[in-house]
Symmetry: D2
Subunit: 456 residues, 4 copies
């Protein structure tokens, strides 16, 4: 084992910093993991409330999945994707059947690696079907970091260094009701934000339609049902239904990015199920393999993806349906069928949310606490409970990472992740298997952190 | 085990055809693999001369790598890339040191998943550094299938369905001397193809420079040192040196795509080493993990990638330096240090090439045989030894896939892959560990195939 | 003289319909003009309330300008723009001095032909200065029909046939208070529309800024101070001041399109003067030559256009400062200096507006009447005074064009032009020399038209 | 009259330098013109061999055209283009009939102002018809300076300041045989340059076609039959026929830019007539009004421009078919019908070319002399007769502009224009009415200039 100091020195010499966020300086090194915990070189446990941005939803080193992976290593770990293997096909079938049950729609699966490439495949389907390059997306959205995905990701910071983006999306305010873009208040607002979107289509002079040709300049709307990087923001339950109606009027497709929120993070296979609308395309990834393989993919309605409109060779990648990834995902799907994850996640989510609300009552600096299933948010503010307080959030994050907290007499750390428009939101994505005791521990540690940091 | 027929039926219902090439109809199903062989459901062995487009260069189910992977599964299989783990750093160090030795240049590594995303990262570095979106690339090039990578991949077929590409590259004839674009013959040509490229920079009216500002409209030239999908074409040894000089005159970066040809496929860590030039950026992937993880990455010169010009957060992806991938790659790098792969690959390559040349003498339909290391090409032509004969190549490919060949009394198959501008080239990328007997078997089976198919 | 019917037949065979609007079918043919009147082949006079979209502001066949043009024809009617002629230089001086007086800014003039090309030159200055291609523009905006100008013109109808526009602007709601985009009412709204624009810059997640780099993705805001094609909409007097402040915070340039509203149409040399802000670039054209030559141009602040940043050869066109055009414009500028057009236009405008308000009181179908100087609007609605009534507006337009109205016993016609987001607004741009009697005639004819048409 | 010095001072303060070329420093001022001559403030005559880049082909202050213009000023000088006037329709008819006679094709005319806008209209027709943005154009081409036209103009200098051009053309070597791009010699080359172009379509890997879909990524080829700014280069007579065949195979349109070379400059109405091919679209301008109005336009085949595919409102501009311009053009067309310009121009061209060839024999520095009709080129080289000699050309240009030459005892000047890829070519476009004596004077003055300047 190379010492931490030595690794950090080597990192500073040999590694690009561009592919990380370097929130902590120097970056924290971990050596092991299990369940809800990471371990550093001194074997201190860190309770992780952000399981690799929801990629490791079923707990670190989940034994069943380790076993499945090892089994595949010993049978067919490698195969070019121009040939078929059983796991790929069975996995596609399972996801399709799950979607038919949910949306009463036939569709097909296309695999790839990494969420951004699933988004690229969705873009390709849309461009192929609609013959147009322009998309709607949300302010606060994050869809990945390829050039194509960056174009529909809201933050200009992700584009600024890379010259002109010819396909930049038009970004629409997200229903972030705690800080409504229009200054409205729920439920009096009557979804004013959707009305404003609908207004775009009222006359061609509002810039997006050709009234004569009855055509929109925009081909699809890419949405995260719960905004992830944007701060785990939960929209009003009726929001997407009205949005979808506006889209349907103009033949604009709904692309549902479930990369972070899918696979029961919100208590449903797909987060969009919470909102009662049927997407045209679903992009998924991350937790599908519990982080053991970058397998990602899209499901699309049959008329967008059948071999006549999207024939062989339309797009592919070497590792698209790699056997290790598909066998892992197949095991995950089996787990989901065997156990009532919906009930389990909602129960845990309710319990955790209640504890967090209690905590909020103790600290005015917690401006907002909300959540759906085990996607939870804690927004850190000034003492007015509203002004974004990035400094305090940063301090808490760094303090938790030190591994010097105390829980029932033992040294430990807390892994948080900061998101949100003002970088002041703890976006909590604990293990879907998190125990009650771990949730209590989490809130106790959060309490310690905020108490300590707001004093400083 | 689900029967082949059933799998094929399910595939036709639930799977997109867009992510595969579907050369064989129905697609072939495999159930196992080992060394140089794939196995179908009847346990028939198929000698694989195209190890997953060179992703599984070290043989299927390589025991040492299986072990390394399993070990990592049991320690730290998952970790968000904002935290460090030992294998990532040590792997970056190893690659950087190898490059310093080769090119006398300091540089850094940035990881990602999938070759196309490594290319996207290279595009980002170039655009950041030069402030321009336009690139040169070769006719016959293949750099991946994200929207960004498709823009610099020569075939319009990869773009046609997807609307306007605002960053389309300018494509330059590749030194495919068997079918010279300019109708010249080696070595009399004196690299006329490079002269033609140089001419672009003679006056601003040739469309790529501003003479007054001494500036090129193009930021970088993306090259495959040996064209892969283009048909394993080996350029003249002096080619890249003269090309590089032209690029240096105008500050145009050289980006070296080693995704398929790197990691000793041509007898060198990087194929570009065969040509005596130093690239500015190297993109790699595939064989780095022997196909067990989609880990990819780029190495770039320090001045393009240091944290001042390319700071934290410039780009990233969830799985970019995932622990399973980096631990595998670290083991691969260790293997490369321990054994003299250069000697081994060149010896095997020479032996295989000699056998293929013998075969060529038997069949006029083999128009060209060439290779560098274990990247070999067999170009199938008409009886004039020149006219591309796609039909014959297709027949041989499909016949090999039937698994009905006979080798020393046993039933077997042969896995080939077709590439080339006219889809008439067998691009051979056998296991770097291929045994002499397997090469003999390969040539014997090729002989059977061509003899049988040209009769039909 | 070729008969009307014959001309219409030839037109239908030999002329593209693409370059006209063909509101009237068959198109109306005119044979002569003078002052405020056009004449058809039967010599019927048509009172023109839309003097060639404000190009012939000083009256048809203005004798002084005819004389100036003829004089130049006899001296130096032709000269390549690489050589200088007196009129060009003196004209540039006059406009610059006028602007220094108004804005206390040094600047320079660049000429071109046609308003769209002036807009293209403004785009070039902006792109050169800011290194960015993205612009803001208004919903309802019209800046011309070159590909570059169409990209920043709101209506998708102007782009739909022409494939992907890589530089499409982001369109912001215009302060069209009679139909507020946000449903607010003046003056209670406190310019909510500007607040919404300001909000874009609050966090990078609102999609237009990079907070860290303190940079906006957008280079300039192109505005029409009074929206022309959009329906002669007059914004609140304080609007542009607050908008400009938001732009200044982020270094976004203000480009003022005065092509239709400049040259005293609103009682000021530039319409923007009514709003107390200083633009960075002004584009002008149309009335500058009273429609006798397509001369157009831009004025820009010295730091955007001086020869160091915008050197010789940056852009040009054959006819850019053609002698006939510049001599005409010089004469127009002389006229403007000799007579108090500000007082004259405001007086006439007030008188006309008062008459129109009287008319509004007679007809509920006139939903809105407004104006600034002699840029006036009459919005035709349903009997609720609000629902846009395109049918009625169309009928009135066509009826006026028949030349069968009666004024004091004589047959005559009325030339109107329809604009507005719902194509229900008469945008009135009468001759700046219109007599009181002509205004009375206009309102009388409008009364006849609306009375007759709403009955039908 | 303001003194020259004062004008130059004012120019340096109030005028953008961006819209001129400023070859001479300070710029030359002219005060009058007539026939083939310009006059400066001291009334010195300058023989003009470059009549405003061929805009004033019929001589300065041509009395017949002055008369026609004045007549229109007194009848209908202004009219919005949504209404018809006789001259527009009759002019369109005349051009269409002329084209039907020449190409046996029905078509229609669309007017605009300025050549660049005619090119923009051609781009719009092409994009509308083919649904694609990419074009071929020639190295050395010049099609105008709007953003759209700059994208298909070869020199990067015209784009460099203005950021990313998403629609940049692919530029193909022009048959500039004196300096063949491929180093070939006529006529042995067998049009190798066209063969190279044809090769692009041989396989999809050459980057421009999709073989499966039988579709080209490029929609049209924009050509100047004689390259203008590129140096008045005359291609081999069989060139365009073979090029057109390659285009027809792939449905690529031929757009013929006649803005500088049309209207009998080469002895034909359209220069393309010299090459025996039928274009799909013709763009024209300049000499159509003899420089008295920026009227320009396109003719297109009926199936590209009929009102069904290109309906009313597809594009337009205020001054598109302005009455002064159309009446002038109608008079020009009448002149062309009345007199045998073909014979006249070819006779004068032959005479002038012979005199220039004599001059070439006297001066080794004249590397090439060539021409078609009265489009003539004199390429200035080093003493080897080949190395481009920009310095000598510049000196001659400036010396001619001084007005200090002597012709038969009188002081005079010579107006030249420099073009060509190396800025060493005098591109001669004298008045089509130039007298023999004037041609003799021209050659005598050229002799003086070269003799004097090569000594210095």
């Amino acid at each position: 084992m190379v010492h931490d100091e030595e690794l950090i020195r080597k990192d500073s010499v040999y590694c690009s910093y561009g592919d990380t966020v370097h929130y902590a300086e120097p970056p924290k090194i971990f050596r092991g993991c299990e369940g809800s915990f990471l371990y550093d070189s001194s074997e201190t446990p860190y309770l992780d409330l952000q399981m690799w941005y929801s990629a490791a939803s079923f707990g670190y080193r989940n034994p069943r999945l380790s076993e499945a992976l090892k089994k595949q290593i010993d049978t067919l770990p490698q195969l070019a994707c121009q040939y078929l293997h059983e796991e790929k096909v069975l996995l596609a079938e399972k996801i399709c059947l799950a979607n038919t049950e949910r949306f009463r729609e036939k569709g097909r699966i296309q695999f790839n690696v990494g969420g951004a490439q699933a988004i690229e495949d969705a873009l390709k389907l849309v461009r192929n079907c609609k013959g147009k390059n322009l998309m709607f997306a949300f302010m606060g959205s994050y869809h990945g970091r390829t050039l194509g995905a960056s174009a529909i990701t809201s933050s200009y910071r992700y584009r600024r260094r890379y010259g002109h983006f010819s396909d930049r999306a038009q970004f629409v305010p997200y229903p972030y009701c705690f800080r409504c873009y229009y200054g409205k208040k729920q439920p009096d607002c009557d979804l004013y934000c959707v009305s404003q979107f609908e207004k775009l289509f009222e006359t061609e002079y509002h810039s997006v339609i050709d009234t004569k040709a009855k055509e929109s300049e925009y081909a699809a709307f890419f949405v995260e049902p719960i905004q992830a990087t944007g701060g785990y923001v939960v929209p009003p339950r009726s929001y997407f239904k009205r949005l979808k109606k506006a889209l349907d009027n103009w033949g604009i497709l709904l692309v549902d990015d479930e990369i972070q929120m899918g696979i029961y993070r919100t208590g449903k296979l797909w987060a969009i199920e919470n909102f009662g609308v049927n997407p045209d395309i679903i992009a998924f990834g991350k937790a599908l393999t519990n982080g053991l393989n970058p397998l990602s993919g899209i499901w699309a309605k049959e008329d967008l993806i059948n071999p006549t409109v999207f024939p062989p060779g339309s797009t592919h990648s070497t590792f698209s349906s790699n056997p290790l990834g598909t066998s892992l995902a197949l095991e995950v799907m089996a787990m989901l069928e065997e156990k009532d994850y919906e009930r389990k996640v909602l129960e845990s989510g309710d319990y955790f949310l209640a504890l967090l609300k209690d905590l909020q009552r103790k600290h005015r600096e917690i401006g907002d606490v909300d959540g759906l299933g085990l996607a939870l948010r804690v927004e850190i503010c000034g003492s007015d409970g509203f002004t974004p307080n990035r400094e305090l959030a940063d301090k808490m994050f760094l303090e938790g990472l030190k591994g010097t907290l105390d829980y029932k007499g033992s040294k430990c750390g807390l892994i948080l992740d900061i998101g949100g428009y003002y970088k002041n939101v703890f976006t909590l994505a604990p293990s879907l298997h998190i125990a009650r005791g771990e949730m209590e521990m989490a809130v106790e540690l959060l309490d310690q952190l905020i108490s300590k940091c707001k004093k400083a």
